[in-house]
Symmetry: D2
Subunit: 465 residues, 4 copies
């Protein structure tokens, strides 16, 4: 160690990164590389590198350094080359069948508890595929954790029905699930004092109500607004998931009002309700690694501690699948959609009682009579959709499924609550308040998970009759 070895590697990497940058190329780790493909010669060299890593050649420090070089190799490959890289990992570095057969045989022959324990341990060892050990070593890259998260995002986009890639992706999810255990995450409040580099990422990742400008962003971080995100210590500048909250009096029923930058500022300390109006996952590579429910819980705790006047924790949520379901029901000529008297009102307002045609008429939500004619049938339909529509045992609506799993209940449907183009298109202006009540959360969760029973407030249930 007379000369610093990792220093050498770092210089190499820096050199490669600079080269990439000069080539007008990738800053982010997993943008497409610049080298064209991975020729077979290189593939062989790759296998040698992988083998050397797995053998721990040169000691564990050297092996880790080699793994980092492998990661860098991946980064400079183009799409074809990366696919070949992943295929090699998937097919050639899975659990060895012979070793597994042997371990199974040993287990079946074990005669006493001690022998069985030994055999189980051996089985576990054998089932850790070499590629998993290799993936774990990529942690030695400077941005190793982010690298693996992005690698899984890439895998997910390519996996199709390839069983090898699927197995690799599953391995990777298991690794990331362990690393991203909620116990390792830190909850941080995001404010206007947060570094701009991070705020810029909120703008990029916001998936529910897009930020219109930096002013809009500022408005959603200050005064009676709050924003919180989860972070992992190895990705300090990358939010994993973030939630936006409005502190208001009463349960919010309109998202445009909530996002209006010119509305007068409320006083957080007087607010009785915390309205969670946007939750966005940021990392495609962490799909299926869950921390959303923890986020809501911990934000609610934090707010409750700081603002003792808060009495109500609820959401103002979109109903993303409503119109699709409604169109299916219309196609199926569902007789319950429009009652007779309602049909007459529609006829009067739209010159048609056909729901789909009425909904297709321009800007109906700005015409009081038309909106009124649609209100009852759509509110009723939406209640049916949320409470009764199923995708297997789950609620069909993915947002509903998320909150019901967390133990919330459907508290209220709000008419003309989101009249943005997206709001009209996905849910005909409807939004939902899901209510989180401490003493109900466990019961609601169990009811939903066990029997698929959806808990809804009386006002919502009444719509179903």
């Amino acid at each position: 160690m007379s000369e610093p070895q990792a220093g050498f590697l770092n210089r190499t990497l820096r050199g490669m990164r600079r080269a990439l940058r000069r080539a007008g190329g990738a800053r982010g780790p997993l943008k497409d590389g610049v080298q064209a493909d991975l020729p077979e010669d290189d593939a062989d060299r790759l296998r040698q590198q992988i083998d050397a890593c797995l053998r721990g050649q040169g000691g564990e420090v050297s092996a880790r350094t080699r793994a980092a070089e492998l990661g860098e190799t991946y980064l400079v490959l183009d799409a074809t080359g990366r696919r070949r890289f992943l295929d090699i990992l998937a097919r050639e570095y899975d659990t060895a069948p012979d070793a597994l057969d042997e371990a199974i045989a040993a287990y079946r022959e074990a005669v006493d508890e001690r022998a069985r324990a030994t055999a189980r341990r051996r089985l576990r060892e054998v089932l850790v595929a070499p590629r998993v050990r290799l993936l774990g070593q990529f942690n030695g890259l400077r941005q190793g954790v982010k690298f693996l998260v992005d690698l899984r995002a890439e895998l997910l986009s390519q996996v199709g029905d390839d069983p090898g890639l699927r197995a690799l992706e599953t391995d990777l999810r298991a690794l990331l699930t362990s690393w991203f255990d909620v116990g390792f995450l830190t909850l941080e409040r995001i404010t206007w004092r947060t570094p701009a580099a991070l705020l810029e990422k909120l703008i990029e990742y916001e998936a529910v109500h897009a930020f219109r400008s930096w002013d809009d962003l500022k408005h959603r971080l200050e005064g009676d607004r709050r924003c919180y995100a989860f972070f992992h210590p190895n990705m300090p500048e990358e939010p994993l998931i973030f939630v936006q909250v409005a502190l208001v009096t009463g349960m919010a029923d309109n998202v445009q009002a909530l996002l209006d930058e010119r509305a007068p500022l409320g006083d957080s300390e007087d607010a009785d309700s915390a309205i969670f109006y946007s939750i966005s996952n940021c990392q495609a590579g962490l799909a299926g690694v869950s921390f959303g429910s923890f986020l809501i819980k911990r934000v609610a705790d934090d707010l409750a501690r700081q603002l003792p006047n808060l009495k109500r924790f609820a959401t103002l949520s979109p109903v993303p699948g409503f119109r699709d379901w409604l169109d299916e029901r219309i196609d199926a000529a569902d007789a319950d959609l429009v009652a007779e008297s309602e049909a007459r009102s529609l006829e009067a307002a739209f010159e048609t009682s056909d729901l789909r045609r009425a909904l297709a008429s321009a800007a109906w939500w700005e015409d009081e009579a038309r909106a009124e004619a649609l209100r009852e049938p759509l509110m009723r339909a939406c209640a049916r959709y949320l409470v009764e529509a199923r995708h297997g045992a789950r609620a069909r609506d993915r947002v509903a499924h998320f909150h019901l799993t967390n133990g919330a209940r459907i508290e209220r449907l709000n008419w003309l609550a989101d009249t943005s183009p997206k709001g009209i298109e996905q849910s005909a202006s409807l939004m939902v308040n899901y209510l989180y009540r401490l003493n109900e959360v466990e019961r609601n969760h169990e009811a939903y998970r066990g029997d698929g029973r959806v808990t809804a407030a009386a006002g919502v249930r009444k719509l179903l009759k």
Copy 2:
């Protein structure tokens, strides 16, 4: 979530901790609890709690909360109660045999690659013992990671040859190995500006050359001394391992000189050598989770970057097993121990040529003639011990094994290098310099790991002739 649930739990925990504290009791998490034993009724309640956690009853937030309560239950148990708790985990929450048999059968029946992939995945799932999932959830405790580290320390002290506890301990090691991957650790320099609460722990954990006082500690952190430690983000006040370095000119050959608080301060920027003179592991519960070689590497890199005049990275290490080995050789009447001329010198100095008796004479190291008479035979014996003595394929000396595995070479043996009581008792005053040279590290490692060949400098090899 109208009331903060986790807040409730936290209050409960705080209450319990306060209760413990008042009882004059435990601050640290795994000191013995105060409750006497775990009665069978409680054991049943415990099983119910575990089952509820594993079932995810009430949702994942609630399950996590319950796991934390379980952890707290463990903390208030006494030794007997804890043993029962661990036995329950070990015996009743291992992989279910039926499920494993089914998964094996499915694997054996799989007809194509896709089916085999599915069966392998199922095998992996089944082999994750329920207790492992439960242990993972203890991460939800405020000091959950430290809790598990201490839990493993406790397990290690009790495991004996109990196969159940051994399997549980193995599970826990796998979990901790994943969580304590070196990529998650941060290297931090420890200085006199470091919080006293942390410095106090160095005093507690130092295993090689005990700190005599806070002044001694200060002296080892300032001027031409350095101290570095690895930390895990979830245990920010607990060093995992730390190393002490002296920046000197030439290769240090005496540890008392190195630790002398009254010696004049050298100038770090003039130093050509970094001498690693003490490495201490701090967490018994992380035995077998390796990061020592990374620590040396990263400290060397950091020093090299800051102090470009440094040319040499070496240790001044004890030889903890030398005297034991030597006594065995004496018992075996090893003829190579003392040459004829040496026997005469010993006779002249000690009135005996018997090595053991000579070594038993009081303060021989302060008598020039006596020390001189012992020098040659002991230097030669020590070289044999280090280079040739084996424990299986490994070097018998555990410190030698560590550095040789890291790719260092045995550079020099130093006579009268540690005349503290411990130094005399363990190694008859001898210490070793292990030298780390960047361009040799991989080769040395491979030679040692493959053929068990020990790399030693010419000066050391000469002693063997």
Copy 3:
């Protein structure tokens, strides 16, 4: 102190601020208040408050609390009320004439050195006007330092030729000069990781080349750009002055090229020149408190330490007064402005040889022939303006004066260097490089300060012949 007194005050202030905020009113401390005027009754109460503060009534903690209340009183006054407040301070709380006369008499009668020393001390005490002691106590306000800075800004805008307000403003400058000594300021690099709340202030304060957007801002903080600011510990979110630097190869000669967001990123480590292209003072209330030369010096030091390839520290500066001076010369029919051959070129390009009319023609800078015709006469005129035009003993151009005082030299004039509307309007597209050379700085400064001699490179001096 059974109840927290300052806590009480803080509650009061918080209440007042909240009231102001609700009234749709001021966030910043010195926006106009909402109360109409300061009635005479209140003025009397004000005097009582001031007297109580100055007497230290109730102890120094209470006096400080009272001063904070006075400050808050000021904040809620409207413009008229504030003017009255300031007038009271200016006229009624100056040094008492009687006390001063007495102190002067005592000094004149002092017979020996000891008596004279005592008398001088007394004179100094008497000359500290009571209002100065009061102003100092406003430091107890939460944002007390910023309050006083803004108070001086307000004073400066109102002082006119009122001797009382002028004296008050002078007192305040002395106080701020002591508090804002450069030794108390911290230099901080501003990056894209800086809190957005602070970046927003750069946008507000930038006085030379306005930021077009947050993207423009980001571009000026990253890659081969640097930005540094001075801060005071009591105003951590308020930059005092900031400078923007481009790291380039060769001496930059065009500001639009420098600000082009689409230009390829250079590599800072290859750059040989640091170009200071924008320096903005942020606090009107600190006019006359100088730290600009320290800023340049310390930024240059910091850059030199980090980027050893930097060989040149220069500016790319506007010439804000050039056109005004040129118009005066044109009015004065200065025969040196346009040589005969130049007149012919102008005639050919513009159909007039009148400089003013030529300069008034639309977008002349986009027409190669026209620009070429103007080049020589304007370069020559600008060199005359910079080197010879005087405002008293100072260079007439304020930017030139700043850099010449700092010891820089005029290195080069750049034609078509700023073709923004402002650049055309103020300086007919010309910009200057001022060069800072370590071994010349003191000599240049002395030459300029002593004899008013302007140091200019040969290329510039040649223009003067």
Copy 4:
């Protein structure tokens, strides 16, 4: 600025410091230097340097650099050299008499308000002695503020009745008073997590109850103990003043009990009283710059906010001057010291009724009968001392004077409250509780400051009868 000038200076200074360090010498800034004296030649060079600084030669950056060099010059001087340096500053760089005479003349001749304002301004300028401007520039030293604080400490120790040095010291106090305005100080809690380098300074500076060990220190920072200090931003590792607080139930009456490391930990949240039992000033050079009363106030506010159960803020204070005063009264044969019945008790216990002889007997405080015999006369005498003994208009006891000025009242005298050697020697075991009550503080302060009236609880006043 092609080469970094300040960098050059820094290198020089670092070189000088290293030289000093190698010479076995000073770390702290104002330990005695190593050079012997300041020869006359050097004195002339010194004057030239000072003149260059004051003239701003080479620009303000260069002047500041020169001032730093001057400071370094001072540091390497020995005691004689430093004295000469200070004498030069004191005598040769005071306000110039001619300039002052002229300014006075101008003031006397001023005919209107405008002219008088101008003349007053001129007087103020002239009265800022050149040495003050120079001292201010020492702020450019890396540790410039600490340098000046230590310089004043040195001046205070040498000033004697030298009017020149006294004036210089007064100038320096004025400068430091402005710089150390309480508005610039930060209050920080000191805990066991505080850097050891800072804790070490508490050990050094503690003036009331010396720390016995690092364990004692730890005990006074944790659990139901608190410690707070004021810091200046330019001296972040140097506390200015610190206070130690015990959170207890009831008003503490014995300091040995309070400091007992083995006593069971109380629970801070149950405590009803915050007892300030030690306040230590740390910087001799800030004598006369007051912030003690602010410290008490702000610590009380902070504690009240965190621990709402606290009802009482009081001290447990020494009575440092009691025995001296008592001895004077004994010498004066004060008949009120010992009543007749008390004399009998003394006689019975000590075989003498002479107070002085009784107090001189060994360990009387450990003998119940003897202690009881002394109790009444001493309690009475101490009450007289505290309430009635005067030093001019001030309470004679300096600790009493401090708390009375802050508006506290004398709440209780405690017998056998400090039986350490110092406690016995200074105050015959007595200690006082001063009580701070929010609604009394201003009134008590005014009474004490105005009429010198001491506020005392009924129990104390009763002792006076």
